[in-house]
Amino acid sequence: MSAGNWLGSLLARIRVGRHRMQDLNRELELHLELEAEEQREAGVPAEESRYAARRALGNAALIAEDVRAVWSMGWWDGMIRDLRYGARTFRKNPGFTTVAALTLALGIGANTAIFSVVESVLLRPLPFTEEHQLVRIYSTKDGVPLTPNGSGVNGGPSTMDMRDFAQSNHTFQQMAVYDTWRKNVSFAGRQGEPQQMWVGLVPGAYFRILGVKPVMGRLFTERESYTGKYYVAAISAQLWRNQFGADPAILGRTIRINDEPYSIVAVMPDVIPEWMEGQPIQIWTPFGFADSRGDVWTETGREGRGWHSLGRMKPGASLQQAQADLATIAAGLAATHPVDRGIGVALETLSETRAHDLRPLLLLLMGAVSLILLIACANLANLLLARNSGRERELAMRAALGANKARFVRQLLAEMLLLSLIGGGLGLLLAEVGVAALTRIHPAGLPQLSSLGLNWRVLMFTLAVSLLTTLLFGLVPALTGTRLNLVEKLKLGSRTTTSGSGAQRMRRALVITEMAMSLMLLIGAGLLVQSMLHLQRQRLGIRQDHLLVGHFYLPGVRYPDSGAITRFCDGFGEKVRALPGVVEASVTTIYPPTYNWTQMLTIEGRPATRVQDVPTARFGVTDAHYLTTMGIPLIRGRDFNESDSLDSSPVALVSQELVRRYFPDKDPIGRRVHIGPPVFMQLPPGTDIMDSSDVTIVGVIGDLRNAGLTSAPEPQILVLYSQHPLVNYGFKDIVIRTTSNPHAIIPQVTRQLHALDADMPFAQVRTMDEVVELETGSQRFTTALLALFAAVGVLLAAVGIYGVVSFLVAQRRQELAVRMALGATRAAALWLVLKQGLAMAAAGAAIGLLGAWTTQKFIRGILFGISPLDPVTFLGGAAFLLAVAAIATAIPGSGVMRLDPAQALRQE
């Protein structure tokens, strides 16, 4: 009977009880009446007939009692009794109870913890109304999403394409283009350092699409949203509380963003989750401020892709319909506008974007904890089998005295229920601790985990898992145990050797299963650890050690032109290079391993004629100290030098990959390259960012990783910011090579920056090692967890094999004693026992290898630099497991060495 059924019928019975008893009374009343009538007809006097009827009926109270037992609480009473009895037997066997409960708790705890991750990343509904209508819209080029580096957030269509989508579609209520920028923010009334914060540049429609209403104030108007002239801002409720003490008169107060005052017009509730924008956003200003040149809503803007996008579909519209709808419009745009050639559109629901690259990791972890649970359950089943075989005599005796099987099964059911409650409770505690730990160690790259917690969905899961596993794994062996053959059991029971061969086979099968599963975990963990090492040892193309990077931003108000920016950056670089402990420093926009600024190139003498043939390269803007600071080798030609200036002809360095791809058979040195789209794309005049500035290649440098750790380096071109005023933007990084620990230099660098501009925050200061660590955050997270699970799995399996071998040794005492008495050596006797343990381990290992081989597809996608079938890992894991099994077998096996044959035989 399933637990649900059981509970249901129990409740029904309690409800129905009162009615039943009234029913019975009426029935008995009628019976007495009829009987009395009959007696009268047979000649009994009227007054006596009633007594006669009562006599014939018997004790009415007893009848009622019996009937009540049939219908209502009888079964429940019995169950309670059984639960009490179970609790008593558990108390009497603290060893068994502890091991069983802990085993169960480990399995349930691990599952609950991971399920809470799955719940928060995959299952929990988004905090928005009708969230299934919310989608992100991405541009594709030749069918491949433009999403840079799988970040999931940007990669949206251009403003003009989105405007056309919004006007011509049939499936959307509303669409919005927006962006998030890092800006220097200071709060009025607070003296001191401005902070770098992420600011959302959004139209009012952004909030309307999400269905988020201001706590107070108003959304940006249409005019404010699209014209960068209205200095209004919305702040989060959290910021309102923390920075303004929840001032009720907050509206109309000002905050300074990049040195310009913005008037607060709204306080927004804290509902937009961090994962959605990849950053915690606490301030929003109108989207118009992202339109620095005022051309975003002109035809010029059609080329600029990579905005964030958001749309709300009409009620009833499906993602497929919306996709088809926009694809039709996109095809029309591609035919009309040259810059849209090859550009398509892809949709993803907002809830899908939450999981994006975490999904395979989570599935892997889910699989791993399921294995843990299965191992734990196998152990539990094993324990119960061992216990039941110890109890077989008791059970046989009870059966002989008239107890029946149903009664016995209920007893076991009660025990299992009790065990599952204890195990589940402990597991929940364990999960609570685990989740707290996960929340603490969760890498910065996984904002999805920030709202981790145990909620009712997780609790239901835990309850279901604990009941299901215990009942399944507790009752099945119990039922095989109740196939009692009385006579045989009683006969067998006269000796201490018990346990029919069926139960024995089952126990061995369970241990083999445990071994197989823990080997699968081991192999998975081994592969991930190696993949991790490969990733971290990935050559970046630079000298990674002793390198510090930091970000600063020069607001346009105080640094209005390229000259001012160049002066500041050169000055800052100079001052930092002069610091003791600094070997070299360079102001730049680029550092490995990921850099998304890509430009189209036109190579002199080799014009491209089709969009897909236009050469592209990652475009880095630096000063002359870049190569020496980063330790990038110069392969040919010359480095930048101080004589390259605004007045001299612009020069560039290109990477070997760029040469391989675009100068396969010519010397690139001295050749000229135009940076920007080719002429045939017919851009309106004045929109080409590089204008007339062609560059001359003066040097070839080694490749550096610029498309993420796991991707091969893309072509790279470096130019000097001093020579290109149009791309000399205010956002800059500084890279600093130090003689000792890079962290030690941070205060001095900050002081130098503030000496130049006291209001400029020095942000995102990290060593290069930390940058790489951050990039591998989710991988390390998964690796650490899987390694932990593998350890737990192996431990449980070791306990399992230990238990079975101990049991075997105890069982075979007499046999071994006889063998020894007849002249077998102790070593030979020991080998007899060890052989059995090792045979189980070997069988398990073989199955485990097969299992790992068949499940490789789950791990293939997240491995880097190692095959999912790596033979060394496979065999190494198997060898390790066999070693553990050998030790776990040898410990109880050594009991054989101390066996005194004479004594063992006398005990009989």
Binding site: L30, E38, G58, A69, V70, W75, N404
Partner: protein
């Protein structure tokens, strides 16, 4: 502890199984209320098997719960008042044939033991 609930099977409690069989058998002729069932058993066994009426009701309820019989308050046409009528369900029919065959086995075994020349102590 209400022993009846221990789901006793016919092997451990022959008498109870017999009573069940008799009740089922009675209901084979059509729906009947408790008193009718008691009287019918009494009459058809020529008063040899004295069923204590009281033991009938727990048995009826137990079989109702097992789904062998179904109960419903219905108007009796003769007496113009409501009685609780029990009727056989398909499961009850199956149970009856099961009980009967078991009964026949037991009876045959007993007959073999007692031999053809039994003095008839029963």
């Amino acid at each position: 502890m209400p022993t009846i609930m221990a789901a006793k099977n016919s092997k451990t409690d022959l008498l109870q199984g017999t009573l069940d069989m008799l009740i089922l058998r009675t209901l084979l002729f059509g729906p009947a209320h408790g008193h009718q069932i008691a009287k019918h058993i009494q009459r058809t066994t020529d008063d040899v098997l004295q069923v204590e009426h009281g033991s009938l009701y727990p048995a009826l309820h137990r079989m109702e719960r097992k789904g062998w019989i179904a109960a419903k308050w219905e108007l009796s046409r003769e007496r113009n008042r409501e009685f609780k009528y029990y009727r056989l369900t398909p499961a009850g029919r199956r149970q009856l044939s099961h009980e009967e065959s078991r009964w026949k086995q037991v009876a045959a075994a007993v007959a073999r033991v007692m031999g053809p020349a039994g003095e008839g102590e029963i």
